[in-house]
């Protein structure tokens, strides 16, 4: 066990973790933050996507112990005090989800893209979101949700 200090969605946590604890398990089981999902467990499907220091990563391939001092953003951190973030609103408005299991990862990945590129083209969305699989195959609406997230009301 080693103690790490980690900031998650703006809140500081100081916690003992075993060396082999993956970030996704640390979030879900140690902190009870079950918004982040785990599906493939090998970094391919994107369900467990979170941001580490602003960059999207697979939390199923990231050791919690390696993140001492890091700043993490999970899907729980996207909404503000006044309600859902723009990208979440857009997923609701344009039906960018079906069963919902991939949705936290989709939304976090989309959020990361929109931080870099507020008005992505369809190709840019496809290229960026390629690693977020939706087994309901609701891709058209996901792409639309991302592209229209920053559209004027």
């Amino acid at each position: 066990m080693s103690e790490i200090t980690i900031r998650i969605n703006g809140k500081q946590h100081r916690q003992d973790v075993p060396a082999n604890r993956m970030l996704v398990d640390f979030l879900r089981y140690d902190l009870g933050m079950t918004g982040t999902k785990e599906a493939c467990s090998v970094g391919v499907c994107g369900a467990c996507t979170v941001l580490v220091d602003g960059r999207m990563v697979s939390s199923c391939l990231t050791l919690a112990i390696s993140l001492d001092g890091a700043e993490i953003t999970t899907v729980e951190g996207l909404a503000g005090e006044t309600g859902l973030s723009k990208v979440q609103e857009s997923f609701v408005k344009y039906g960018g989800y079906q069963c919902g299991i991939c949705t936290p990862g989709q939304v976090v990945s989309a959020y990361a893209l929109l931080q870099e590129n507020p008005h992505p083209s369809e190709d840019e969305v496809k290229d960026w979101m390629m690693g977020n699989l939706c087994r309901c195959t609701g891709y058209y609406k996901i792409i639309e949700s991302v592209m229209k997230a920053n559209e004027a009301e």
Partner: protein
């Protein structure tokens, strides 16, 4: 995944001391996208992990004299988006863009990828074509290893247990060179290649091939250079016929395995097809540059 000791040294000497202490029982942790997956499947069970990302200065990308020096911890995404790489080594920007997904490229590093030595990877084919070498450090001082001497077998390199890669050195391509990287992906865009081919071509003003280099990934137990194809073309006039005849020779040097991405026989055929297409692509680019 079984437990292990975890260390996060802040300097290279500390990291080397830890490596020396644990010997073969330690693994260096860079991005972890390869290593952690193997540990989760219990294919690798190190007694200790030594995290490298706390050591400053290992992720730079700088052009000097005739080469570009890339720190071992530069991520795939760093390389893909680097203005220095775009200007000096466009082949690498093109290649790294084809690796997996943005999420993986955000953490996977150039040095970690090379030490992982998975022959299915994309970058080694292009790095081999550019005559890349790696600089290592070890208690004995360190050395420069040409990439062609680094890869030994599946997931096996010539690195010693107490040695670590700190820098990747890529010579700038010769004047007038055109380059390309082709990745054959019959399944999905983020997959490993069925076969991948990197090529470099220099033809003189009369269209005679002066420098030809072919690298292949997913075509054997290590990434390879197809020297026989290269030698068949050097000194010959570039032509679609010459490329076709030379590309057929690649079947003598590839040794792929049958897997979900195709049978060995199919991959051998595709190695020829994509070698030919890579040469054609370089030649098209070369002709487009002519006045």
């Amino acid at each position: 995944m079984i437990g292990f000791d975890f260390h996060a040294p802040k300097t290279q000497p500390e990291a080397l001391e830890l490596l020396a202490r644990y010997g073969e029982d330690a693994k260096l942790l860079a991005g972890g996208t390869g290593l952690i997956n193997m540990m989760k499947q219990n294919l690798v069970q190190p007694a200790a992990l030594i995290q490298l990302s706390r050591i400053p200065g290992l992720d730079g990308i700088d052009a000097s004299d005739g080469e570009v020096r890339i720190g071992a911890l530069a991520t795939h995404r760093n390389i893909e988006t680097s203005p220095v790489i775009a200007r000096e080594l466009p082949l690498l920007a093109e290649t790294y863009r084809h690796v997996a997904t943005v999420r993986i490229r955000n953490v996977a590093t150039i040095g970690g990828g090379l030490a992982h030595a998975d022959p299915m990877q994309d970058p080694p084919a292009s790095l081999l074509v550019l005559d890349t070498s790696v600089q290592t450090v070890s208690p004995g001082g360190g050395r420069t290893i040409p990439l062609s001497d680094l890869f030994v077998d599946y997931y096996e390199t010539s690195l010693q247990p107490d040695e670590m890669i700190v820098e990747v050195r890529v010579p700038k391509p010769p004047a007038g060179a055109t380059t390309t990287f082709l990745k054959f992906l019959p399944r999905s865009q983020d997959d490993y290649a069925t076969v991948s081919v990197a090529a470099l071509l220099v033809a003189d003003e009369r269209g005679i091939c002066r420098d030809v280099r072919i690298g292949l990934g997913a075509a054997g137990s290590t990434p390879i250079r197809a020297r026989n194809v290269e030698e068949a073309l050097v000194g010959q006039p570039a032509s679609l016929d010459a490329f076709r005849q030379a590309a057929a020779l690649v079947k003598d040097v590839v040794d792929p395995i049958s897997d979900v991405r195709g049978s060995a026989e199919y991959k051998r055929d595709m190695a020829e097809v994509f070698t030919r297409r890579a040469l054609e692509r370089c030649w098209t680019l070369a002709q487009a540059r002519r006045p």
